[in-house]
């Protein structure tokens, strides 16, 4: 028994020495030697944590995630900790193994349960996987740790919206607007969600406030103008929509909405110009072509109408995700 322990201790000591040399080599920029030495150390002591972790990290920096992950897995088993799980997660994300990455980051959070920044990352990653309910829960958890962080509010609101929890999204957006009265973004989000729920007058008030707070923020102008279009207040909608386009000339939805207003005011040539512009600034978007088709049809230009329609149909097939709402799904059990 004593002999065995002595042998293990010797191997461990040898591994420590090799690992120390490897770290020196790595710091000196000799990655080849470092890798060789760490692997040699692991040959002596397969669970040598420093070698597993540092070699894993070096491979991570070299963007060799496929090689790094097995080492970091073993390192996390031998000696779990915040950093090893965090870096494991990054490599798994790089390998597009999203669910495993999220699990690694959740493991990291157990060591730093108040790490708001990591919670943000996890929430966003949940969202990318359409795990919107989990994304919202994580963002809300982060909000409890940092209740004055507007960015966290925005992440949570977005996740709730994507999860189809429109009531909660609207309530949280309203909460953010109350807490951050001088934030144009917060005011806009509140207005956006209120208009989505059909609370038009309240929405307009928030959007007006957002416009007043930041004259260079185009989205409030667009949604304000679009709401007026939907209320058939076409003449009043022109100015805010034009302002949105002036701020962001590539804002295709604003151009489509403006075209709608113009056509309803019998300013069809101007409407056509806006739509043609929209097709140029957003060539994947089928919607301007739909409206072009309708306008040409009303003008009796049936060949142009047909061409515009066919283009809209082609774009829908070629770029289907542009006009698609995603459905939430549950995060899979391991």
């Amino acid at each position: 028994m004593t002999t065995v322990l002595l042998a293990v201790a010797l191997l461990q000591a040898a591994a420590d020495q090799l690992a120390a040399r490897a770290l020196e080599a790595a710091q000196a920029g000799d990655a080849v030697s470092a890798e060789k030495l760490w692997k040699e150390a692991l040959g002596r002591a397969p669970n040598h944590h420093a070698s597993l972790f540092n070699l894993g990290v070096m491979l991570h920096r070299q963007r060799r995630s496929a090689d790094a992950v097995p080492l970091l897995d073993r390192a996390a088993t031998v000696q779990p900790g915040y950093e090893v799980h965090l870096i494991r997660g990054q490599n798994l994300q790089h390998l597009e193994r999203r669910e495993e990455a999220i699990r690694a980051w959740l493991a990291a959070l157990r060591f730093q349960p108040a790490n708001v920044k990591l919670m943000q990352v996890v929430s966003l990653e949940y969202s990318k996987g359409r795990y919107f309910h989990e994304a919202a829960a994580m963002a809300r958890q982060a909000l409890r740790s940092a209740p004055n962080d507007l960015n966290l509010y925005l992440i949570a609101v977005k996740a709730l919206q994507d999860a189809g929890n429109h009531d909660a999204a609207s309530l949280l957006a309203a909460e953010a607007a109350a807490k951050f009265p001088d934030s144009a973004r917060a005011q806009f989000e509140a207005g956006f969600h209120l208009q989505k729920r059909g609370a038009t007058e309240k929405a307009l008030a928030h959007l007006e406030r957002a416009m007043a707070l930041d004259a260079n923020y185009e989205e409030p102008y667009y949604f304000y103008g679009d709401l007026l279009v939907r209320q058939s207040k076409y003449a009043e909608s022109i100015e805010p929509l034009q302002k949105a386009i002036a701020i962001r000339p590539g804002y295709a939805p604003a151009r489509v909405s403006l075209a709608r207003a113009l056509s309803n005011l019998d300013r069809v040539p101007e409407a056509l110009v806006e739509l043609e512009s929209a097709t140029i600034v957003d060539p994947k978007n089928a919607q301007p072509w739909v409206l072009l088709s309708q306008l040409y049809f009303r003008l009796g230009e049936e060949a142009k109408a047909e061409n515009a329609k066919q283009t809209s149909l082609r774009l829908r097939r070629e770029f289907p995700s542009v006009l698609e709402a995603l459905q939430a799904r549950p995060f899979p059990a391991r």
């Binding site: 420093a50 972790f53 990290v57 920096r61 950093e83 965090l86 990054q90 943000q120 990352v121 966003l124 969202s127 990318k128 359409r130 795990y131 960015n151 992440i155 609101v157 977005k158 919206q161 994507d162 189809g164 429109h166 957006a173 806009f188 989000e189 956006f192 969600h193 989505k196 729920r197 059909g198 609370a199 989205e219 949604f223 089928a286 919607q287 739909v290 409206l291 088709s293 309708q294 040409y296 049809f297 009303r298 049936e302 109408a305 047909e306 809209s312 149909l313 829908r316 097939r317 289907p320 995700s321 542009v322 006009l323 698609e324 709402a325 995603l326 459905q327 939430a328 799904r329 549950p330």
Partner: protein, 582 residues
């Protein structure tokens, strides 16, 4: 030891409505939130519905595969049904298609369609076998019309596989003659919608048939196989996206009573890439020629405008009925046609998949439409997968209401959370000002009952002066929602007989004038969801006890004006019998 790991945070704009990754479900849906409900009008709703199916003898269940899980989309869509008076006794009978199951039935007998004869005494008799109406297979849609102009309704039924044309002998029996008359369709097609129409105004009914897709279980992936085979992360049957598209076929009736496929010559075949359901033939632009509107699932819906020269042109996008108001494709299912705002133009209500609103397409003139669903107050129930639907004056107040039957396609939902396979029906009362209100809670227990419903056939089954509804329910017996209207509002029912036009008068448009107002309806073959409604046109008159004039625009292009008539009666109008032509 390396410890500092910087993490870059990028928050996408909350307002962005753009998918980040590939399509993530097999059906078009938008996560639409419910629009806010307006304050109730407080007016009583006098129509009330009771499900009397069991009492009436409508007891045979429909079967569409496994009721607990659906492996293929063929098991999920169900079918429509047909309200027809096949024996001309003045009482609406009911034809109910049936489904099947892919694994077959072994030694047991496959279920068949059912024909129920209305006894006129509150009950129905199953005359399926006696009438020669027992059809096995995957039934889908039904439409009726007297295509041979012999004075009785014939029936066309669509299938996955050859379709059926049940020719009525006039003595209470049908004979299946689809292949003989050239309308059986391809052996492997999954046909869905059908409608009789007289597109060339030659007095003979032609036939239009849609197919949902070219379905083949051998090449259809299993549940969960791709992003087109999941619903909110749950593996479900694939499609319709990712599966081969359907098509549309126009059959022209020849002098000998058989039909020829004129889809290419008529321009129908030019439309491509759609999953078609219900087909409705009506004159949407008021030019006297029958057009065709098709509800498409997860693809643009289609409107074929009759060019008056034997050809059609597809103009759904151009006229505003292909998409919703924002240009999104929708999971279109059923279609109701009527004149909800009483401006004399035919409007359209279309049901869609869950997470979306229905469409209320207001005809602004010349067959150009505007989706007014949100301003009309119909955006409040996006939780429903809507199917059968009609614009029908349920309370006889003179304004067409909307009744919609619902049911999800995934039984795996297990009724929750927030989503139900079996869903209630919904009724929206027309307030007369372009707006509707949900009065489902005031309309009797049958409206609140949960079923996974599909087809709905509207008509006055008990001839008591109000509109009832027969409903096909998945895996269950049908429902017969009897309208026990409590009010004293008046009504009139108009039954047309064509002479130079086709005898069923399909395609004719009727306008009545009463109490200073007018109402317009069209005689339709298929509508609702793959269903045939009562072709007798029912008008509520409110307090008016007569109609002042009845104006019929026949499909020949001739308009006749018929004189005043007392309310609460059926008026039978034969083409050319008025003696007045404006």
């Amino acid at each position: 030891m390396i410890s500092g790991v910087s993490v870059r945070i990028a928050v996408t704009g909350c307002a962005a409505f753009v998918g980040l990754i590939a399509l993530a479900q097999g059906v078009a849906t938008r996560n639409a939130p419910p629009a806010p409900k307006t304050a109730p009008s407080g007016r009583p709703f006098l129509a009330s519905f009771e499900d009397v199916a069991v009492r009436a003898g409508l007891t045979a269940p429909t079967l569409f595969g496994n009721s607990l899980t659906k492996r293929y989309i063929i098991e999920a869509n169900g079918a429509g049904l047909a309200a027809i008076d096949y024996d001309n006794d003045g009482w609406l009978d009911l034809f109910v298609p049936n489904g099947s199951r892919l694994e077959g039935f072994g030694a047991t007998v496959a279920p068949t369609s059912r024909l129920y004869r209305n006894t006129g005494k509150g009950s129905f008799t199953d005359v399926t076998v006696k009438a020669g109406a027992a059809l096995a297979g995957w039934g889908s849609g039904a439409c009726a019309g007297d295509f041979d102009n012999d004075g009785d309704d014939d029936l066309y039924v669509t299938y996955w596989g050859p379709n059926a044309l049940l020719v009525n002998s006039g003595s209470g029996e049908f004979s299946e003659q689809a292949a003989r008359r050239g309308v059986a369709g391809p052996a492997k097609e999954w046909s869905s919608g059908c409608t009789f129409l007289d597109y060339d105004r030659d007095g003979k009914l032609d036939l239009f048939v849609t197919s949902y897709q070219q379905f083949d279980p051998a090449t259809t992936p299993p549940p969960g196989k791709s992003s087109n085979c999941e619903w909110k992360g749950m593996p479900v049957f694939c499609g319709p996206r990712g599966l081969p598209f359907g098509r549309a076929t126009l059959y022209r009736q020849l002098p000998n009573g058989s039909f020829e496929d004129v889809s290419n010559a008529a321009g129908i075949s030019k439309a491509r890439d759609f999953y078609a359901f219900t087909a409705v033939a009506a004159d949407f632009n008021g030019d006297g020629w029958t057009d065709i509107y098709i509800a498409s699932d997860s693809t643009p819906s289609l409107l074929f405008r009759n060019q008056k020269n034997g050809t059609f042109r597809e103009i759904g996008t151009e006229t505003g009925v292909a998409f919703n108001e924002h240009g999104f494709e929708q999971g279109g299912m059923g279609i109701g046609v009527g004149d909800y705002n009483r401006d004399g133009r035919l409007d359209i209500v279309k049901t869609n998949f869950a997470g979306d609103h229905p469409n209320l397409y207001r005809n602004t003139g010349g067959g150009i439409f505007e989706d007014t669903v949100l301003s009309a107050g119909l955006g409040i129930n996006p939780q429903f997968v809507g199917w059968g639907v009609a614009l029908a004056d349920l309370d006889n107040d003179g304004w067409q209401d909307i009744l919609q039957v619902n049911g999800h396609v995934y039984p795996e939902l297990k009724d929750g959370p927030g989503e139900f396979y079996r869903q209630t029906r919904v009724i929206y009362r027309n307030l007369g000002d372009g707006k509707f209100e949900d009065v489902s809670g005031l309309a009797g227990p049958a409206i609140g009952a949960r079923h996974s419903s599909r087809g709905a056939a509207f008509g006055d089954f008990d001839n008591d002066g109000d509109i009832d509804v027969a409903v096909l329910n998945m895996g269950e017996r049908p429902s017969l929602l009897l309208n026990t209207h409590r009010g004293s509002a008046h009504w009139i029912r108009i039954e047309l007989e064509g002479v130079a036009s086709n005898r069923s008068a399909i395609g004719a448009v009727v306008t009545i004038e009463s109490a200073g107002g007018k109402q317009t309806q069209a005689v339709l073959s298929q509508s609702s969801f793959l269903s045939q409604n009562d072709r007798r046109l029912h008008f509520g008159l409110g307090t008016a006890n007569k109609v002042d004039r009845i104006i019929v625009a026949w499909l020949t292009g001739v308009t006749e004006t018929f004189p005043a008539h007392a309310a609460n009666a059926t008026v039978r109008l034969k083409e050319g019998s008025s003696g007045t032509r404006p």
